[in-house]
């Protein structure tokens, strides 16, 4: 008898409540995501999509339900920091680069949690910034970069430790349409070329259309699961 392979990500009856149950951000969410999928989560503001992303990144714990990464329970993960450092790459709407560090240094920040020498970290940062087309901006501080460039640095940072899962929360929300398109193309290229799983939260239908699957959320529940 062969064992049934666990899904890459799997949620069952997942809930998340705040303020002692007065705010129910997630009201029983079920889904499974396979490795290499590009999933967009769409829905109106306050529907729970960002909360779901936080749970997937082990930044928060569910109130109840099951959430598994490759069969391992994330809420019970013995070392959530190691999971975030090695398996997850975050991309935020507001970039969240550290202002006192250059582009190359920002990309190196997550690498402190894995066993790499200073020169290896530097070389890896250079490779990644080249990959996102910013090898000429290595020593620039975030304040000297445009919005699109900042998000590219953030994308390079998310790839620092070769994660299996990219979690992007409105990654183009702070960009003009031209930059948004360019950043989205870059994300999709990186996801497809390297076979990573990407979960992207957006309220923009045109962005969601680029995903292989769309989970639609309303009021803390998934109301549609469109595989394309």
């Amino acid at each position: 008898m062969s064992a049934i392979a666990a899904s890459f990500l799997e949620a069952k009856a997942l809930t998340r409540e705040f303020d002692e149950g007065q705010v129910k951000a997630l009201r029983g969410v079920d889904f499974s995501i396979e490795e290499g999928e590009f999933v967009a989560i769409v829905g109106p503001s306050g529907c729970g999509k960002s909360t779901l992303l936080q749970l997937l990144g082990a930044l928060d714990r569910p109130t109840s339900g099951t959430l598994l990464y490759r069969g391992i329970s994330l809420p019970d993960h013995p070392n959530p920091a190691a999971y975030r450092a090695r398996q997850v790459g975050f991309i935020f709407q507001a970039f969240h680069l550290l202002p006192t560090f250059t582009a190359a240094e920002n990309v190196q920040i997550p690498m402190f949690e894995i066993d790499r020498s200073a020169s290896e970290r530097r070389n890896r940062a250079f490779e990644l910034l080249k990959l996102v087309g910013l090898d000429h901006r290595l020593d620039h501080f975030p304040s000297k970069l445009s919005g699109g460039e900042r998000q590219r640095v953030a994308i390079a940072r998310s790839l620092a430790n070769g994660p299996s899962l990219l979690l992007a929360d409105e990654p183009t929300g702070n960009l003009d349409s031209e930059n948004a398109q360019s950043v989205l193309n870059l994300l999709i290229r990186l996801q497809q070329e390297q076979g990573r799983t990407m979960v992207l939260v957006t309220h923009d239908a045109t962005i969601a259309e680029r995903a292989g699957r769309i989970l639609r959320m309303i009021d803390g529940r998934i109301v549609a699961d469109d595989k394309r």
Binding site: S50, D60, F92, Q93, H96, A104, E105, P110, E113, A160
Partner: protein, 372 residues
């Protein structure tokens, strides 16, 4: 980029605040160096003075402040006959103002006793006898009082004459006005009163026998205590007071330093909540965040310590040259004291960073994901 450069970058975010905090620690540590260095120098100077006179055992009363309380000179008669006692010298020491100098040591010695022998004449002569109304001045005392041979000197209500300038072989001796015992007893209105007996033991006396002798002296004469030269200062009420005051003041300065660093590190944690949350989100462990904050505060302490030691060392040299205390002490700025001061500064840094570090590790990284 190394973890250490991340730590330095953290401090460099707010150079003015970091500088002011450094200044706070530096002043605290400078106070430690200056006050403790001066008090230890004071002690060492006295000890060297006793050794220069060839004293093995010091007999003083059990009470007293900066100078010991006076007792009757007849105590010496009971001591002189004890085994291993070679010679004794009755002394009356007072620290008082003399003319323009606020603090001057008056050292009155029994005429002809061994405590006169270490004095080497630089100019002039020694007093002719016990009753001649003259003094000799240590070289530093002569400089401080601006006196030369032949000048009058006013001690309390009595005018005496400086007949000689001497080298005493120790700072305290050089900084003293030296005169015969009956003369000072007369000036102070304390005939037959002394406050120190210097005892020299016979040459073959062992350490054990000296210890036994000190015990016997204590038994023979009630109200007095006999200690070896090295123990003398640790038993002295005056020096204990000076030591307690110097450490007490230093501790207050250190406490101010602790509060300064803690305030800075707490501000840092509050200001960098967002940054710390991002670090947690990209996989930094809570332990690494705590280390970052603790290293920052320890580095602040280390830098403050080094700067403070430098300020303290220079400051104490300047202070010891001021007329008020010149000649009274040579600051003891030993490597041990300077090293201890830096260690204290680092400990201040680390202990002040503990709470902010703990606070930083309790932050919830999910806030970093919120847009904005």
């Amino acid at each position: 980029m190394t973890f250490f450069s991340v730590v330095i970058r953290g401090l460099w975010r707010r150079p003015l605040r970091t500088g002011l905090t450094l200044a706070g620690i530096s002043i605290g540590i400078a106070a430690v160096v200056a006050l403790v260095g001066m008090s230890r120098g004071f002690e060492k100077g006295w000890q060297a003075g006793l050794k220069a006179r060839g004293t093995d055992i010091v007999v003083t009363s059990r009470e007293g402040s900066l100078t010991p309380k006076r007792f009757d000179a007849s105590v010496r008669d009971r001591i002189a006959s004890l085994p291993h006692v070679a010679v004794t010298c009755n002394i009356l020491v007072e620290v008082t103002s003399v003319e323009d100098s606020d603090l001057m040591i008056l050292s009155a010695r029994e005429w002809g006793c061994f405590a006169w022998n270490n004095l080497e004449l630089v100019s002039g002569r020694m007093p002719r006898d016990a009753v001649e109304e003259t003094v000799v001045l240590g070289q530093t005392a002569a400089e401080v009082l601006k006196k030369k041979v032949g000048d009058p000197i006013q001690i309390e209500t009595k005018q005496l004459t400086v007949v000689g300038i001497v080298k005493g072989g120790a700072l305290v001796e050089d900084g003293s006005v030296i005169l015969s015992l009956p003369l000072l007893q007369g000036i102070m209105g304390a005939p037959n009163r002394i406050n120190v007996i210097d005892v020299r033991v016979t040459p073959s006396t062992t350490e054990q026998q000296i210890k036994e002798l000190t015990r016997q002296i204590g038994q023979q004469a009630s109200g007095v205590r006999a200690v070896t030269v090295s123990e003398h200062l640790s038993h002295s009420e005056g020096f204990r007071l000076v030591r307690a005051m110097s450490w007490g003041t230093s501790l207050l300065a250190i406490l101010v330093g602790v509060l300064g660093v803690m305030n800075t590190m707490l501000m840092t944690v509050f200001e960098r909540t967002h940054e710390i949350c991002v670090l947690l989100a990209v996989g930094w462990t809570r332990g690494r965040i705590m280390r970052m904050i603790l290293y920052e505060s320890a580095l602040l302490g280390l830098l403050g310590g080094v700067v403070g030691v430098a300020i303290g060392a220079v400051g104490v040299k300047v202070l010891s040259a001021t007329p008020a205390i010149r000649g009274l002490l040579q600051p003891d700025l030993s490597i041990a004291l300077l090293g201890l001061s830096v260690v204290i500064a680092v400990a201040v840094g680390i202990s002040s960073g503990l709470y902010p570090a703990w606070r930083s590790s309790r932050l919830n990284p999910s806030v970093a994901l919120q847009a904005g």
